[in-house]
Protein backbone atom coordinates (compact mmCIF):
# COMPACT_ATOMS: atom_id res chain seq x y z
CA UNK A 1 0.00 0.00 0.00
CA UNK A 2 1.41 3.35 -1.00
CA UNK A 3 0.72 6.03 1.55
CA UNK A 4 0.74 9.31 -0.34
CA UNK A 5 1.57 12.23 1.92
CA UNK A 6 0.87 15.62 0.39
CA UNK A 7 2.35 18.83 1.76
CA UNK A 8 -0.09 21.21 3.40
CA UNK A 9 -1.17 24.33 1.59
CA UNK A 10 -0.30 27.66 3.25
CA UNK A 11 -2.60 28.36 6.19
CA UNK A 12 -3.84 31.70 4.91
CA UNK A 13 -6.29 32.39 2.13
CA UNK A 14 -4.20 35.32 0.89
CA UNK A 15 -1.12 33.13 0.47
CA UNK A 16 -3.14 30.54 -1.45
CA UNK A 17 -4.57 33.21 -3.72
CA UNK A 18 -1.04 34.43 -4.43
CA UNK A 19 -0.04 30.90 -5.49
CA UNK A 20 -3.12 30.65 -7.75
CA UNK A 21 -2.22 34.03 -9.29
CA UNK A 22 1.34 32.88 -9.95
CA UNK A 23 0.07 29.65 -11.57
CA UNK A 24 -2.36 31.59 -13.78
CA UNK A 25 0.24 34.23 -14.71
CA UNK A 26 2.76 31.53 -15.64
CA UNK A 27 0.27 29.77 -17.92
CA UNK A 28 -0.79 33.01 -19.59
CA UNK A 29 2.82 34.20 -19.86
CA UNK A 30 3.94 30.99 -21.52
CA UNK A 31 1.04 31.13 -23.97
CA UNK A 32 1.92 34.73 -24.89
CA UNK A 33 5.57 33.75 -25.32
CA UNK A 34 4.51 30.85 -27.56
CA UNK A 35 2.31 33.15 -29.66
CA UNK A 36 5.21 35.54 -30.14
CA UNK A 37 7.74 32.80 -30.92
CA UNK A 38 6.82 30.56 -33.87
CA UNK A 39 9.18 27.78 -32.78
CA UNK A 40 7.34 27.34 -29.47
CA UNK A 41 4.08 25.36 -29.39
CA UNK A 42 1.05 27.33 -28.25
CA UNK A 43 -1.91 25.84 -26.39
CA UNK A 44 -3.63 25.43 -29.78
CA UNK A 45 -0.72 23.27 -30.94
CA UNK A 46 -1.02 21.16 -27.80
CA UNK A 47 -4.73 20.65 -28.52
CA UNK A 48 -3.89 19.76 -32.13
CA UNK A 49 -1.38 17.17 -30.95
CA UNK A 50 -3.92 15.72 -28.53
CA UNK A 51 -6.40 15.39 -31.38
CA UNK A 52 -3.98 13.24 -33.37
CA UNK A 53 -4.63 10.13 -31.29
CA UNK A 54 -7.96 8.54 -30.56
CA UNK A 55 -7.50 8.07 -26.77
CA UNK A 56 -6.29 11.63 -26.18
CA UNK A 57 -8.97 13.26 -28.33
CA UNK A 58 -11.61 11.23 -26.50
CA UNK A 59 -10.13 12.40 -23.20
CA UNK A 60 -10.22 15.98 -24.47
CA UNK A 61 -13.92 15.74 -25.31
CA UNK A 62 -14.79 13.97 -22.05
CA UNK A 63 -12.80 16.55 -20.07
CA UNK A 64 -14.67 19.39 -21.73
CA UNK A 65 -18.04 17.75 -21.04
CA UNK A 66 -17.08 17.11 -17.40
CA UNK A 67 -15.98 20.75 -16.99
CA UNK A 68 -19.40 21.95 -18.15
CA UNK A 69 -21.27 19.48 -15.95
CA UNK A 70 -19.14 20.23 -12.88
CA UNK A 71 -19.37 23.98 -13.33
CA UNK A 72 -22.95 24.56 -14.42
CA UNK A 73 -24.89 21.62 -13.00
CA UNK A 74 -22.99 21.03 -9.76
CA UNK A 75 -21.99 24.64 -9.07
CA UNK A 76 -23.60 26.08 -5.95
CA UNK A 77 -23.27 29.79 -6.48
CA UNK A 78 -25.59 32.43 -5.19
Amino acid sequence: VIDLVLPDAPASRAANLVVWSVVAATLVGWQVAALLTPSLPSLADVVRRLRDRRPTRSALLIGWAWLGWHTFVQGSWG
Binding site: A9, S39, L40, P41, V46, A65, Q74, G75
Partner: protein, 163 residues
Protein backbone atom coordinates in the same frame (compact mmCIF):
# COMPACT_ATOMS: atom_id res chain seq x y z
CA UNK B 1 -35.52 36.97 -71.02
CA UNK B 2 -33.09 38.32 -68.47
CA UNK B 3 -29.82 36.55 -68.34
CA UNK B 4 -27.80 37.04 -65.17
CA UNK B 5 -24.18 36.10 -65.35
CA UNK B 6 -22.37 35.33 -62.17
CA UNK B 7 -18.66 34.97 -61.90
CA UNK B 8 -17.65 31.51 -60.73
CA UNK B 9 -15.78 31.45 -57.45
CA UNK B 10 -12.06 30.92 -58.01
CA UNK B 11 -10.80 27.52 -56.90
CA UNK B 12 -7.20 28.52 -56.24
CA UNK B 13 -4.87 31.49 -56.03
CA UNK B 14 -4.80 34.51 -53.73
CA UNK B 15 -8.49 35.33 -54.29
CA UNK B 16 -9.63 31.86 -53.25
CA UNK B 17 -7.31 31.98 -50.26
CA UNK B 18 -8.81 35.32 -49.20
CA UNK B 19 -12.33 33.96 -49.58
CA UNK B 20 -11.51 30.91 -47.45
CA UNK B 21 -9.95 33.06 -44.72
CA UNK B 22 -12.93 35.44 -44.73
CA UNK B 23 -15.29 32.47 -44.53
CA UNK B 24 -13.41 31.11 -41.59
CA UNK B 25 -13.58 34.40 -39.67
CA UNK B 26 -17.29 34.63 -40.44
CA UNK B 27 -17.76 31.20 -38.86
CA UNK B 28 -15.66 32.23 -35.84
CA UNK B 29 -17.75 35.36 -35.25
CA UNK B 30 -20.98 33.42 -35.75
CA UNK B 31 -19.87 30.78 -33.22
CA UNK B 32 -18.88 33.41 -30.64
CA UNK B 33 -22.15 35.30 -31.12
CA UNK B 34 -24.16 32.09 -30.73
CA UNK B 35 -22.19 31.16 -27.59
CA UNK B 36 -22.81 34.60 -26.06
CA UNK B 37 -26.54 34.36 -26.80
CA UNK B 38 -26.77 30.84 -25.36
CA UNK B 39 -24.70 31.92 -22.33
CA UNK B 40 -26.94 34.91 -21.65
CA UNK B 41 -29.99 32.62 -21.45
CA UNK B 42 -28.31 29.68 -19.69
CA UNK B 43 -26.82 31.97 -17.00
CA UNK B 44 -30.35 32.40 -15.61
CA UNK B 45 -30.72 28.67 -14.94
CA UNK B 46 -30.15 27.43 -11.39
CA UNK B 47 -27.74 24.53 -10.83
CA UNK B 48 -28.98 21.09 -9.74
CA UNK B 49 -32.10 21.40 -11.90
CA UNK B 50 -33.27 19.38 -14.89
CA UNK B 51 -33.05 22.53 -17.00
CA UNK B 52 -29.36 22.94 -16.05
CA UNK B 53 -28.70 19.32 -17.02
CA UNK B 54 -30.46 19.88 -20.33
CA UNK B 55 -28.56 23.13 -20.96
CA UNK B 56 -25.26 21.26 -20.61
CA UNK B 57 -26.43 18.06 -22.33
CA UNK B 58 -27.48 19.81 -25.56
CA UNK B 59 -24.02 21.25 -26.41
CA UNK B 60 -22.32 18.04 -25.27
CA UNK B 61 -24.57 15.92 -27.49
CA UNK B 62 -23.96 18.31 -30.40
CA UNK B 63 -20.18 18.14 -29.90
CA UNK B 64 -20.26 14.34 -29.75
CA UNK B 65 -22.36 14.30 -32.93
CA UNK B 66 -19.86 16.51 -34.76
CA UNK B 67 -16.95 14.43 -33.45
CA UNK B 68 -18.50 11.17 -34.66
CA UNK B 69 -19.34 12.78 -38.01
CA UNK B 70 -15.70 13.82 -38.37
CA UNK B 71 -14.46 10.32 -37.59
CA UNK B 72 -13.13 10.84 -34.10
CA UNK B 73 -13.93 7.21 -33.29
CA UNK B 74 -11.57 5.98 -36.02
CA UNK B 75 -7.84 5.49 -35.63
CA UNK B 76 -5.38 8.15 -36.73
CA UNK B 77 -5.66 11.92 -37.04
CA UNK B 78 -9.04 13.48 -37.76
CA UNK B 79 -9.41 15.25 -41.05
CA UNK B 80 -8.23 18.84 -41.10
CA UNK B 81 -11.11 21.30 -41.10
CA UNK B 82 -9.59 24.62 -40.32
CA UNK B 83 -7.39 27.18 -41.95
CA UNK B 84 -5.72 27.70 -38.62
CA UNK B 85 -2.23 27.98 -40.01
CA UNK B 86 -3.44 30.37 -42.71
CA UNK B 87 -5.32 32.86 -40.59
CA UNK B 88 -2.88 32.81 -37.71
CA UNK B 89 0.83 33.35 -37.66
CA UNK B 90 3.05 31.15 -39.77
CA UNK B 91 3.56 27.86 -37.95
CA UNK B 92 5.01 24.51 -38.77
CA UNK B 93 2.37 22.23 -40.27
CA UNK B 94 2.52 19.91 -37.28
CA UNK B 95 3.70 20.14 -33.71
CA UNK B 96 6.74 17.94 -34.40
CA UNK B 97 8.56 20.85 -36.01
CA UNK B 98 8.36 22.93 -32.83
CA UNK B 99 11.20 23.20 -30.39
CA UNK B 100 11.04 19.87 -28.48
CA UNK B 101 11.19 21.48 -25.05
CA UNK B 102 8.01 23.47 -25.72
CA UNK B 103 5.62 20.58 -25.22
CA UNK B 104 7.57 19.52 -22.13
CA UNK B 105 7.04 22.99 -20.63
CA UNK B 106 3.29 22.73 -21.25
CA UNK B 107 3.22 19.27 -19.67
CA UNK B 108 5.17 20.57 -16.67
CA UNK B 109 2.86 23.56 -16.24
CA UNK B 110 -0.29 21.42 -16.30
CA UNK B 111 1.31 18.89 -13.95
CA UNK B 112 2.14 21.74 -11.57
CA UNK B 113 -1.41 23.05 -11.83
CA UNK B 114 -2.84 19.59 -11.08
CA UNK B 115 -0.44 19.10 -8.17
CA UNK B 116 -1.36 22.43 -6.61
CA UNK B 117 -5.06 21.70 -7.08
CA UNK B 118 -4.54 18.36 -5.29
CA UNK B 119 -2.69 20.02 -2.40
CA UNK B 120 -5.40 22.63 -1.76
CA UNK B 121 -8.17 20.07 -2.37
CA UNK B 122 -6.84 17.90 0.45
CA UNK B 123 -6.38 20.88 2.80
CA UNK B 124 -9.04 22.42 4.97
CA UNK B 125 -10.92 24.58 5.70
CA UNK B 126 -12.03 25.30 2.13
CA UNK B 127 -12.46 29.00 2.93
CA UNK B 128 -8.69 29.34 3.48
CA UNK B 129 -7.73 26.77 0.85
CA UNK B 130 -9.70 27.64 -2.29
CA UNK B 131 -9.61 25.13 -5.12
CA UNK B 132 -10.03 26.04 -8.78
CA UNK B 133 -13.69 25.01 -8.51
CA UNK B 134 -14.41 27.02 -5.36
CA UNK B 135 -12.81 30.13 -6.87
CA UNK B 136 -14.87 29.65 -10.02
CA UNK B 137 -18.07 29.20 -8.06
CA UNK B 138 -17.40 32.34 -6.01
CA UNK B 139 -16.94 34.36 -9.18
CA UNK B 140 -20.08 32.88 -10.72
CA UNK B 141 -22.30 34.42 -8.08
CA UNK B 142 -22.42 37.33 -10.53
CA UNK B 143 -24.74 36.87 -13.53
CA UNK B 144 -22.50 38.46 -16.19
CA UNK B 145 -19.55 36.31 -15.07
CA UNK B 146 -21.80 33.25 -15.29
CA UNK B 147 -22.88 34.21 -18.81
CA UNK B 148 -19.25 34.72 -19.79
CA UNK B 149 -18.30 31.34 -18.32
CA UNK B 150 -21.06 29.65 -20.31
CA UNK B 151 -19.92 31.35 -23.51
CA UNK B 152 -16.26 30.48 -22.83
CA UNK B 153 -17.15 26.82 -22.23
CA UNK B 154 -19.19 26.66 -25.44
CA UNK B 155 -16.46 28.32 -27.51
CA UNK B 156 -13.93 25.91 -26.02
CA UNK B 157 -16.07 22.95 -27.05
CA UNK B 158 -16.51 24.36 -30.55
CA UNK B 159 -12.76 24.90 -30.74
CA UNK B 160 -12.02 21.34 -29.64
CA UNK B 161 -14.29 19.66 -32.20
CA UNK B 162 -13.99 22.06 -35.13
CA UNK B 163 -10.41 23.32 -34.99
Amino acid sequence: VVCVRTRAAPQSGPEAYGARVAGRWTRVFAAVAAALAYGAVAARIDPYTSLARLAVAVPVASAVGVAVHDGWHRRGPVRARSLGSEVGRARPADGRAHRPGGLFVWASLFTGLAAWQLVVFTSSPREDNPTFSSLTIEAMAHGPVRAGAWAAWLVLGWYVVRR
